[in-house]
Symmetry: C2
């Protein structure tokens, strides 16, 4: 395993050693309290792992012995940290449970297979013996995809794939690479870059998530405009199922019926365990450029994105913050710092150029060879100008790029201070995006106001366009709110329900890149239709007839 799990938080995000500079900035917290209509923020620390009791493992001794015989004794683990680490993913909802010491979902054991054969053997035994299996990559799901839920079965094991992390081969003629599914993002990236190629999949979870997880939840990296989503870059997969191994097609294109590879994408461990994958790779970009623009408002920025993607301009990313997100990050970062001459001059200049409170910041990214990067950058500059935008320079882009994986760390200091913070995301067509944006923003603001612990308190609801396509784009909402400490899970659920209902009512998908898991399950019939869900259920029945794989995820019971 290339990533040291003992250095990763079991009840928060990422490296336990990571310290965010804002965490200790009391001026920022005081400013934030004011923004949220709260007189002050409370101390709400998480419970320590050693103070939390775990229920005894429900595996019986002969079952445990069988697994130890197949995998080796050191690869069947049921210690306190192992079971806690694998109890849940890392959503705000998960963190509420974990920080409160609720480890009801802890698996009965964690298994670390070393190869596809061991996975097959494990699944076959689990299926025959009624033991639920939750496939586990990096465990960064933010929709409850790895909750160790036994469903109606007697016990549940977490099948941790991180021991299967070999790069199997690179084909530089066809520009594909094959790797075991448990490889972490940085290890895969390093191995590929050593051959001067990249996959180019950099989700915010990149440092702590795995190839198999990216495929299983049909994800998208921040640079998907250039490198594609998982459904674009996946060539073929090996899917271990209780009925045996399914090796999917690996042709560049085929008309021989529906593509089975497509069914692995988004299967979330409910159809099988992805053990290997072949993916498209590309030459490592010779250069990259991330730069900032300021638009007069979100609408004109979105129009610029639409024009660029519809003319197929080669960009790697166009990330447009709405007015609230633009304002929030500017103010949050500046809080407690004395306003210097440069900052006041910048304010004056923006005002002179008529960039008011509706101003929307964009980070535009370009990667590739220097000529095409310069050409795309120039052309996007023309488009931005056409929509009235002002260039705010490469330093804004560099700052974004440096902090591009750090967003989730902000949750922990906020949760330590009685605050809630969650994100949700969707995608819809360009013709529906304005109505969807307004409806979801208003719903979040209203529901937060209704569920805060005190009158007059309110939330901050920020949004950005994170990914774009010729026919539409994703909207990524971040919302911060005073937590209802006596009912924080119910508060989370009320906000989540209202927002997702609004998304569905306005023609958005329930998830653009987070997945379904447990959290989006109640909307799957609306998303896929009754027959669509029947189809998913039939596929599961063909591959996992006893229903041992990841109960309670993806497919409504």
């Amino acid at each position: 395993m290339s990533t040291d799990r003992t250095k990763i938080s079991w009840n928060g995000w990422g490296w336990t050693a990571h310290k965010d500079e804002v965490a200790g900035n009391e001026a920022a917290w005081s400013w934030l309290a004011g923004e949220l209509g709260m007189p002050s923020l409370l101390a709400t620390p998480a419970r320590a792992l050693e103070d939390i009791a775990l229920a005894p493992s429900r595996l019986n001794p002969s079952e445990r012995a069988h697994f130890a015989q197949v995998l080796g004794e050191d690869r069947v683990r049921d210690g306190h940290f192992e079971r806690a680490f694998h109890a849940r993913g890392r959503s705000y909802h998960d963190l509420l449970h974990l920080r409160a010491g609720n480890l009801a979902a802890a698996p009965d054991a964690v298994l670390y297979p070393r190869g596809t054969d061991e996975v097959l053997s494990t699944l076959s035994f689990a299926s025959d013996n009624g033991i639920a299996v939750v496939p586990f990559g990096g465990g960064t799901s933010v929709v409850g995809s790895v909750t160790a839920d036994p469903g109606a079965l007697k016990a549940v094991i977490s099948l941790d794939m991180s021991g299967m992390d070999r790069l199997i081969g690179i084909d530089t003629t066809s520009f594909t690479a094959t790797a075991e599914a448990g490889v972490y993002g940085p290890a895969l990236d390093k191995a590929l870059r050593a051959q001067n190629v990249v996959l180019g999949h950099y989700p915010q979870s990149f440092e702590f998530s795995t190839l198999g997880g990216w495929i299983a939840h049909r994800g998208a990296g921040q640079q998907s405009s250039r490198y594609g989503r998982a459904n674009d870059w996946l060539v073929s997969a090996k899917l271990a199922t209780p009925r045996g191994l399914l090796t999917t097609e690996d042709f560049p294109a085929s008309s021989a019926g529906p593509r089975i590879t497509d069914l692995v994408l988004g299967s979330e461990g409910a159809f099988g365990v992805i053990t290997e994958a072949t993916v498209h790779i590309q030459p490592a970009p010779k250069t990259s450029l991330y730069t900032g623009f300021l638009f007069h408002d979100f609408t004109s920025g979105a129009a610029a994105i639409r024009l660029a993607v519809q003319e197929k301009l080669p960009v790697s990313m166009l990330r447009l913050s709405d007015a609230e997100e633009t304002r929030f990050y500017r103010a949050y970062g500046a809080a407690g710092k004395k306003k210097g001459f440069g900052s006041r001059l910048a304010d004056a200049y923006l005002s002179y150029r008529k960039f008011g409170p509706d101003a929307a910041a964009m980070i535009a990214g370009f990667e590739g060879d220097p000529v095409s990067v310069e050409r795309s950058h120039k052309r996007f500059g023309e488009i931005a100008k056409q929509f009235g935008a002002m260039k705010i320079g490469d330093s804004a882009g560099r700052r974004w790029h440096q902090g591009r994986f750090h967003g989730p760390y902000l949750r922990e200091p906020m949760m330590d201070r009685g605050l809630g913070v969650d994100t949700l995301e969707t995608a819809t067509s360009w013709s529906k995006i304005n109505a969807l944006y307004s409806a979801v923003k208003k719903t979040l603001e209203d529901t937060i106001r209704e569920t805060t612990p005190r009158p007059g308190a309110r939330g901050i609801v920020a949004c950005h366009i994170s990914h774009s396509y010729p026919d539409g784009a994703s909207l990524y909402f971040t919302y911060i709110f005073p937590r209802a400490l006596d009912g924080d899970v119910a508060q989370w659920l009320a906000i989540k329900r209202a927002a997702t209902d609004a998304i569905v009512a306005h023609g958005g998908t329930i998830s653009h890149h987070h997945g379904v898991g447990e959290d989006h399950l109640p909307w799957m019939v609306q998303e896929k239709g009754t027959l669509g869900v029947d189809v998913l259920r039939a596929i599961k029945g063909a591959l996992d007839p006893k229903g041992v794989l990841n109960p309670g995820k993806l497919i409504p019971r």
Copy 2:
């Protein structure tokens, strides 16, 4: 219906009025006989429709009356021409049967629904009453996808979708269009171009095939490098099934589980009937350029294609003929024409430039705005030069473009003269393509030699790369051979089997854009794996529990 069916051949390709100039060119035929090692060609005309008897319809009167009540009397047809027209597709194998007067596969009635509700009602009744339903678009399948086979059921109807051909709407904000699935290619193209947009799907069957058919067989048009395959341009579909209507997702992207839309692609009428589709559209190209290059050999031409697609050069088409195809079309077109001074000069120049018998011709196509067309054309010229190619000019490109839909017409005059002619196609990765090419070519040549009616006779086996991708390309084989007149179906099958076995053995897909139908069914387990086929069977079971939809296609019994 926008295309007049009475003017389309029931036992051959396309317009009955079409006359190919080669058809009456006796010098060309005599040259061809020599090439095939035959002393002369025989007259083998097709049987006339009026001389062929059809079995009585197996629908009972109350069933027929039910359909007439739901659809209207004029939309339930069982006349001689209707039943013959819908008996089979238009493959060489189909034409062997049709020209011989074998109409055993004629449907018991042809139904013409006018809307999704009528399709749903028809499917529900058929399912309840054990009547097989074969969805029929333009009927141009070349793999036996529309053979009116009742399977184990008592009767079979052909469900002709050509009455459902409305353009429902165009969304010029999201660049999508929604149309009924029975619309023919030219009618859809005309309606879209009236709004200055295109779908850009131009398969060789374009004039005689429909939107629903393109999706159902997961096809690719000639310009798919620019406009994408059906699996690229399909946004969403309505699939009418015996269990009701399945409306698939229409989001620009989603991570909410496997995409049901993907299962409609390649479903070949076995899961349901596609009644409507929403597709990506693009601005109509302002200009287009098709031009010719000559490479020293197939390998260097393929290397140029690989470089161009791997650097993502925006081309609409790169079509590279192998030496035999290059030689054949040059000689066939020239046969009987006196070799003029210009032609002899060209030969001398080619020889001087050392373009020998291995020379491989390429047509390269570029579409879009003038600046990008010129830029791509220039860059591809550099790539071609790097691989030693010579530009042979735009007139070659224009000729190809003018005749781009005419290839299939050549079969009829050949079949009138005792010849067989068939095509097959595959795709594989760049690292396997040379071995696959050699193996299939040799297998075709050998099997043709073994199955010709006389010693010394032989086939012509030509190939071109028709579509290309970063990780591989398709190979399209055309083969002409002296027909074994006392066993022409067995001869066809022997050749088909040997070639497909060679394709599978060398890592190619059994079809790149023709589909599965009946003809590729025996290789589906090798293509998809046992579990993959089980998955397809499970999906069918969920949507068509009685198994009335298109029996004997796509899914092995």
